[in-house]
């Protein structure tokens, strides 16, 4: 990279915290044992993993024994959906219409093999539609999966209530808390769920580590079979360095959460005031949202074009979720909220971190205004 851009894509991935890197480095050099080995090299690795397990559990109000280490949030979601389905053949699974592809795709794969998958709709603000939830629960359902905070809009769901409804109908509850962790308080027991997905690289930790927080009452079938690591739930040599990084990242975010969120929310609110003056429509802003996320569109402006234009000006933003920005289909989250297709195509996501500054927001608004004027002139000429 020749120029250092302003990074506004923190829901895509975050910059590793230098303190996390420092904690990881020994495990990329002299502390290289395989955690399954019984000699001192292996026992040191095991010890480091168990320490990280405590840090992760502490950050989300779970017991260390409830923490199943995986390779990523994607893997945790796949494990939850596929793993529960395998133990409950013949029963339905209900997922919301705004889930990340790593929940919807494994559900689709199960559907192809004959499982019943029901979709819970959302309202215009992106919140779970209660009637739709209850309708899904009328059918014998093994698992309900609803994300805690949406990666695109940042909208936060009332997971504890949804979990209660699931419980009444004898369904287990899973929530994807990947985007919520580090941005709002996440507490496994308060949420009242049986399984919860976490990811390291969204909280200033390294890529390559994730976790599924799992209530022992929920039996799941593993995805990966072999050496029997993680009590048989996830075989494969543990990625010690990444797990250590994930652990310390969890400790840091829970210690520093409050001091960061206030500043981040102020920046986001400042940004949105400016966006509104530019005629932007902000999605999900009538309900509880993550403090760092702003998902908006400016009528008549194509999102992909604007993202590219902003990139040339040195701003890294997203036109949708990173994982689906390959495709030019409008966001499935916005479509589920009933947003018009053309407007949805204009969607741009800014997601902030504590590394961003108010100055960057101000410069961004000026750049956006400039690009808008330029694009409007071009459109006027074309007509």
């Amino acid at each position: 990279m020749t120029t250092v851009a302003t990074y506004f894509d923190n829901n895509g991935t975050t910059l590793l915290d230098p303190r996390v890197l420092e904690a990881m480095l020994p495990y990329l050099s002299q502390q290289y044992g395989n955690a399954t080995s019984r000699h001192i090299y292996g026992r040191s690795a095991r010890h480091a993993i168990e320490h990280a397990r405590e840090q992760i559990g502490d950050a989300v109000g779970a017991h260390p024994s409830q923490v199943v280490m995986t390779g990523s949030g994607t893997e945790s979601n796949n494990l939850a959906i596929t793993g529960v389905a395998a133990m409950n053949e013949g029963r339905a699974i209900a997922i919301s219409a705004i889930e990340h592809p790593c929940v919807t795709r494994p559900a689709m794969a199960l559907q192809k093999r004959g499982s019943i998958i029901n979709t819970i709709g959302v309202d215009a603000d992106g919140k779970i539609d209660d009637a739709s939830l209850l309708h899904c629960l009328q059918m014998d359902t093994s698992l309900v999966s609803v994300m805690l905070a949406n990666n695109e809009t940042g909208v936060i769901q009332d997971i504890a209530n949804i979990a209660e409804a699931a419980r009444i109908h004898h369904a287990f509850m899973h929530t994807d808390a990947v985007q919520a962790l580090g941005k709002i308080k996440v507490d496994f027991s308060d949420l009242n769920v049986h399984a919860m997905t976490l990811s390291s690289h969204k909280i200033y930790g390294p890529q390559g580590a994730g976790a599924l927080i799992l209530d022992k009452r929920l039996d799941i079938q593993p995805l990966l079979l072999g050496g029997g690591q993680e009590k048989g739930l996830r075989s494969g040599t543990e990625n010690v360095a990444a797990i250590v990084g994930f652990g310390i990242a969890c400790e840091l975010i829970s210690r520093e959460l409050l001091q960061h969120t206030v500043a981040i929310r102020q920046m986001r609110d400042y940004l949105e005031q400016g966006l509104k003056q530019l005629g932007a429509i902000i999605f999900g802003n009538k309900v509880d949202r993550l403090p760092n996320t702003s998902f908006f569109a400016i009528p008549g402006i194509e999102g992909e074009t604007m993202v590219m234009a902003l990139d040339r000006k040195g701003f890294a933003v997203a036109s949708g979720s990173a994982c689906s920005s390959d495709s030019t289909e409008p966001s499935h989250v916005l479509l589920a909220m009933g947003i018009d297709k053309d407007l949805a195509r204009g969607a741009i996501r800014v997601s902030l971190s504590s590394n961003n500054t108010l100055e960057e927001i101000k410069t961004f608004l000026v750049a956006l205004q400039g690009e808008l004027n330029r694009l409007k002139q071009l459109t006027a000429m074309a007509i």
């Binding site: 990279m1 851009a5 894509d9 895509g12 991935t13 975050t14 910059l15 590793l16 890197l21 990881m24 990329l28 050099s29 002299q30 290289y32 044992g33 395989n34 399954t36 080995s37 019984r38 000699h39 001192i40 090299y41 390779g71 990523s72 994607t74 893997e75 796949n78 592809p101 790593c102 795709r105 494994p106 689709m108 794969a109 390294p206 890529q207 390559g208 580590a209 990966l224 079979l225 072999g226 050496g227 029997g228 690591q229 075989s235 494969g236 040599t237 543990e238 990625n239 360095a241 990444a242 992909e304 701003f315 890294a316 997203a318 036109s319 990173a322 994982c323 689906s324 920005s325 390959d326």
Partner: protein
Amino acid sequence: MSVHTPIYLDYSATTPTDPRVAEKMIPYLTEHFGNPASRSHPFGWTAEKAVENAREEVAKLVNADPREIVWTSGATESNNLAIKGAANFYSGKGKHIITIQTEHKAVIDTVRELERVGFEATYLAPEPDGLIDLEKFKAAIRPDTVLASVMLVNNEIGVIQDIEAIGNICRENGVIFHVDAAQATGKVVIDLEKLPVDLMSFSAHKTYGPKGIGALYVRRKPRIRIEAQMHGGGHERGMRSGTLATHQIVGMGEAFRIAREEMELENARIRRLRDRLLNGLQDIDEVYVNGDLKHRVPHNLNISFNFVEGESLIMAVKDIAVSSGSACTSASLEPSYVLRALGRSDELAHSSIRFSIGRFTTEEDIDYTIDLMKSKIGKLRELSPLWEMHLEGVDLSKVEWAAH
């Protein structure tokens, strides 16, 4: 020169990350931290470019096309993906799978799971030297055999299977052929242009790369299809979803590049060390090498010390870090199933040690190990009534033990 104890002789369990590899990884943990799937900004592009360079390095080591390399979280995932993925995709062709009793658990347990959902499996026994009898393999093939999985290098005894011959038998019979090469990269030459192999699993951390990253080779010509096991953003052409850990991929690429450039010299040096170790240990009475010595990677020496109790052996040799079975199963006290499959008795299997030598092993390390083993085995045997009986000429296999 003094040695640093415990001496690490467990390179088959995992290898240290080569400092050159770690150095290459660190920038991708700091300034180049983008998500390679982000297509809208240079943070993502830089990461994507690094991922593709690494893919080329991995492909080069095994003479494959970069488009045939799919990233995974490690060899366990590669084995699961290859076996479940191919078996499910081609299940219309047949439901019989052949594998070997001495495969890694990641293969055995995956095949067992497929049995649970309606496949049938043959677990072929190896010969006492650990190698497969080609005629027996041929005889195991049935008209409905869809997949065979055979490891290139065994993790416990280091023997090298004749993958080319086995692959040719598979080709002749229209059987898809998967090979677990986790223990082979950097140790034996792998040429996938020539080898009749359809799917091959790789691991980074057995070849001086980082943990948490591996790859699966999926042949393009003739094209092999697999059913994805992890679904999501559609990464890796839909075969394996999930955000790629860029720094780990970069590390695997660099590790495989170093392996390609240095394996010839390195293997010659390691062979000299292994032979030195073998010569030294052969001075001890009643030692048995497990597995064929000729068809074997130079890094491995697996030896049973007769008339020594397994657990006390491990306790006695604390100054060396070794395995008494595969790293992945050494948590249990069951004797190694690999050694049992070779026909070794429980006692000999229990009293076995796998010495695995690597890039940072020195001649001093080996000499220290030889001295340590000689002295400790001697002491343990002094305490052993069985050893005493053996010296007195009692044939222990004919002794009838009284129950207490």
